[in-house]
């Protein structure tokens, strides 16, 4: 069993608080609750060659959401033509896209920044329900 001294615990706690502060600063308030300041639901999407995570997302019609996009490797794109929504997803940055789905249905999203031999298959699907 490892025993920690009080000073060690304090250092750990301070470090932890700083880490949480930095995380909140970088990622917004997503880590504290899955909604933004204006009440929009936050959907985190991670991109890497040649897939998104998650690949399938379900949204509710009329409910605002914020897509928080990050990449694990290189630059990718995130394009939902049917929603007239797109963004570049670049390393080291969280890119946010806000949308309120207006119509139920299925919407494909895909990478539109060429990223290699599996680029053409890098896609996902959003289902908007009533």
């Amino acid at each position: 069993m490892i025993k920690r001294t009080i000073s060690e615990i304090n250092v750990t706690s301070v470090f932890g608080m700083v880490a949480v502060f930095c995380f909140v600063t970088v990622f917004g308030i997503a880590c504290l609750g899955a909604s933004s300041q204006d009440g929009a639901k936050i959907i985190k999407i991670s991109a890497r060659r040649f897939e998104y995570s998650p690949q399938e997302i379900t949204l509710k019609k009329g409910a605002p959401v914020v897509f928080q996009l990050t990449t694990e490797d290189r630059s990718h794109g995130f394009n939902i033509p049917s929603m007239n929504l797109r963004a570049d997803v670049v390393p080291g940055k969280v890119t946010e896209l806000k949308v309120t789905p207006q119509k139920a249905g299925k919407y494909d999203f895909f990478c539109d920044v060429f990223c290699g031999s599996g680029h053409e298959g890098m896609s996902g699907k959003i289902t908007v329900t009533d």
């Binding site: 794109g77 394009n79 033509p81 539109d112 920044v113 060429f114 031999s117």
Partner: protein, 302 residues
């Protein structure tokens, strides 16, 4: 010497090898051609050979299809004035040495073409991962112009930027080049991706392609030949005709006809179906271009 092409000879050419004859007279979009300024000539459009592709279910003759196409082009009775290759010469790879090897092999194969004037341009598979650096080492500039018998050809690079964009610098270059042309000039644009939004859901578009079309719109006689979508497509943006070419490696389905963008599997009963190349007749007397589509012949070998 001016090559005047007899229409009967052209039709005879069009009838060889199971060719599908497409003519502007048949309702296909055709170039409105300013009469009296240009001389008749042929050129051949080859596209999307994806040299280095592997996938037996899609093309079990991946190492032979381009070679067969070279043989087919060499067998044309009426030799083309030149050949254009509208991108994706090679299959993409992360390995620079493999990319170089593929481009070297590709260059050796097309070096067997009887027609020695070949104008290349890159596709995203050739250029997007290194912004065209390796491509330039083998084939030169990615955007340029040339003139041939009264037609001004403009090659636009919409792939070296991995976002599938032309970019402001090249658009300025295009604007400056067009400023030197008369409004009734015969202009042919060669590019890889469609300049219009053919089907953005499958990335069949150029992000800033509308800016290029806006620059071209004031000119009365503009035709665009491109690749990327691995099938024939004929589309008009106003008076500008856009013609895509088949692939020399793998055919793709029509836009939106399948849930996902995937190549059409090989059909042993109809080998090479959906693959081929195009012969283009610039025909000033008929005020239009005529397009011949040629299949790949199974027995064609070099």
């Amino acid at each position: 010497m001016t090559m005047e092409i007899d229409r009967r000879e052209f039709l005879k050419l069009a009838g060889m090898g199971g060719v599908v004859f497409l003519s502007g007279l048949g309702g296909q979009p055709a170039l409105s051609f300013a009469g009296g300024k240009s001389k008749d000539f042929f050129f051949v459009q080859l596209s999307d050979s994806h040299w280095g592709f592997e996938g037996a279910k899609i093309n079990p003759d991946a190492g032979g299809t381009l070679i067969k196409a070279v043989k087919e082009v060499n067998s044309l009775k009426q030799k083309p004035d030149f050949i254009v290759f509208t991108g994706d010469l090679t299959q993409t790879t992360d390995d620079t040495n493999v990319r170089k090897q593929r481009m070297k092999e590709f260059k050796q194969i097309v070096g067997e073409l009887d027609t020695k004037v070949v104008h290349f341009m890159p596709g995203e598979h050739d250029a997007s991962l290194d912004q065209g650096a390796t491509y330039k080492d083998f084939f030169g500039e990615t955007h340029y112009t040339f003139d041939h018998k009264g037609v001004h050809f403009i090659t636009i690079d919409n792939v070296s930027d991995p976002t599938g964009s032309i970019g402001e610098a090249q658009l300025e270059w295009l604007k400056a080049d067009l400023a030197k042309q008369k409004q009734d000039a015969n202009i042919v644009v060669l590019t890889h991706r469609p300049l219009f939004d053919l089907y953005p859901q499958w990335d069949w578009a150029t992000r800033d392609g509308s800016k290029a079309i806006d620059l071209l719109r004031p000119f009365q006689n503009v035709t665009v030949f491109y690749g990327h979508i691995h099938q024939e497509n004929h589309h008009m943006t106003g008076h500008i005709a856009h013609h895509s070419a088949k692939s020399l490696m793998l055919p793709m389905p029509p836009a939106g006809s399948m849930p996902k963008r995937q190549p059409i599997p090989w059909n042993a009963a109809e080998p090479y179906k959906g693959m081929g190349f195009r012969n283009v007749l610039s025909q000033s007397r008929k005020d239009q271009y005529q397009l011949n589509e040629y299949p790949i012949k199974e027995d064609a070998t070099v």
